[in-house]
């Protein structure tokens, strides 16, 4: 009940603050830009150079999903950093919600939005054709990825500048979504341990139980480790 009340208050707060509202709809802007690129740039490149982008469609779609959920994670991470700097986080932690409640509240809000934008991406882009259960799993994993990014920034950074450094470094994680293209065995092996690689693999091989299971496990392990680290650090 407390969570629902806080969640409702969060929505009110966000709607009152135009900056936050704009930031949370920013993925829509990103989706629009990618759609424009899909409609105009892909045929333009094909016409001018004869280069067919479609074999790389799974990687492009994976990139779109990762950018959306990553952006929401970064926004949430900075929101929590600002709340920590303003001692708002400490105040919320001594309310009945508690420390874990605060974390769940902040991360679940961004994760729900991530699922929403994932669904929008499936509806808008015709780059890949996936079965329903694959779409469901990708939505779920996008939500987890958002929480992972948010937690990495919040629990890893001591201040805003370190948060920015983390955000910059986390962009490099997206590289792991494309490692199959580079055909470097050491890089592919390294990618196995990072969520972006498995998002691309799931889009490439939606029928594979092995890929889907490993994607799920890797995401959950990352989230679990980060929550554990956060709990230990705060205590």
């Amino acid at each position: 009940m407390i969570q629902i009340t806080l969640f409702r208050n969060d929505i009110k707060q966000i709607l009152r603050d135009p900056v936050m509202a704009m930031l949370l709809v920013a993925p829509l802007l990103l989706i629009s830009v990618f759609k424009i690129l899909e409609v105009f740039l892909i045929p333009f490149v094909a016409l001018k150079t004869g280069f067919d982008v479609m074999p790389y469609a799974p990687c492009i779609f994976s990139f779109i999903l990762l950018m959306n959920s990553g952006m929401l994670g970064i926004v949430t991470g900075f929101m929590m950093l600002d709340e920590r700097d303003g001692n708002i986080a400490q105040l919320l932690e001594i309310t009945p919600m508690g420390r874990s409640g605060y974390l769940i509240n902040r991360l679940s809000f961004a994760s729900i939005l991530s699922v929403l934008y994932c669904v929008v991406s499936f509806a808008v882009f015709g780059l890949v054709n996936l079965p329903f259960y694959s779409k469901m799993l990708l939505c779920f994993l996008s939500a987890i990825y958002t929480a992972i990014i948010g937690l990495l920034i919040f629990s890893g950074a001591d201040d805003k500048v370190k948060g920015l450094t983390y955000a910059k470094g986390l962009n490099a994680l997206v590289l792991f979504a494309f490692t199959d293209l580079f055909a470097l065995s050491w890089l592919t092996f390294l990618s196995w341990f990072f969520p972006p690689y498995w998002i691309t693999m799931m889009i490439k091989s939606p029928q594979s139980f092995f890929v889907n299971s490993l994607a799920f496990i890797i995401h959950v392990v990352w989230l679990g480790v980060l929550i554990f680290r956060y709990g230990r650090r705060e205590s």
Binding site: M22, V75, F78, D82, V161, K162, L164, K168, G169, L175
Partner: protein, 230 residues
Amino acid sequence: MRLQHAILADMRFQIKHGFYLVYVIITIMYLIILSFLPENILSVALPLVVFSDPSVLGLFFIGGIILLEKGQGVLTVLVVTPLLSIEYILSKVISLAIVSVAAALAITWFSYFPSVNWVLLIVSTILTSGIFTLLGIMINAGCNTVNQYMLKTIPYMLLFILPCFALIGFPYSWLFTIIPSVAALKLMMGVYHGILWYEAAALAVYLVIINYILLRVAVRVFENKIVYQD
């Protein structure tokens, strides 16, 4: 002397906050990607990478740096120290330009691109980095959170980045060179593709003038809107 100390302090701050480390990681990432590109695509991608990331890093970081120092009360203390506002800003611009130049040199060096004008690479990276860092200081006025800052950078980025498409070439596209980012990208392209010396000199002088104007405006905005907050 004060400026020199301020730059060293800022560099120590940047090292402590992992700027150099994160750019080692990002450089490796770019090198992996660039190493798979054929030479004709590399010749376009390399200047774009150097222009869009190392040269623009000041805009990304300066918002957080000023917000953090404001929160820690550094800016309040600054008023009673001999360090002038212009020295404070120059120290930020120069120290961030050093990171930019180091990253730009590393990416270019390890890409093994056949013909590079190294002097021009350093000059164009410093001038571009200066423009974006000073722009970041001006955007920072009135921001209380990093999210606010990031949101405020979006229209400026669009204003500066979208005209760069003029370099594809269409009738009267040369007129866009008046926009500093287009001039900077043109100069950066010249680093790798060759450029007439007088064209490079004209672009460099133009960018120096823009840097000077932005510095004067940034000092005024910094004093009125950030330190004293009107």
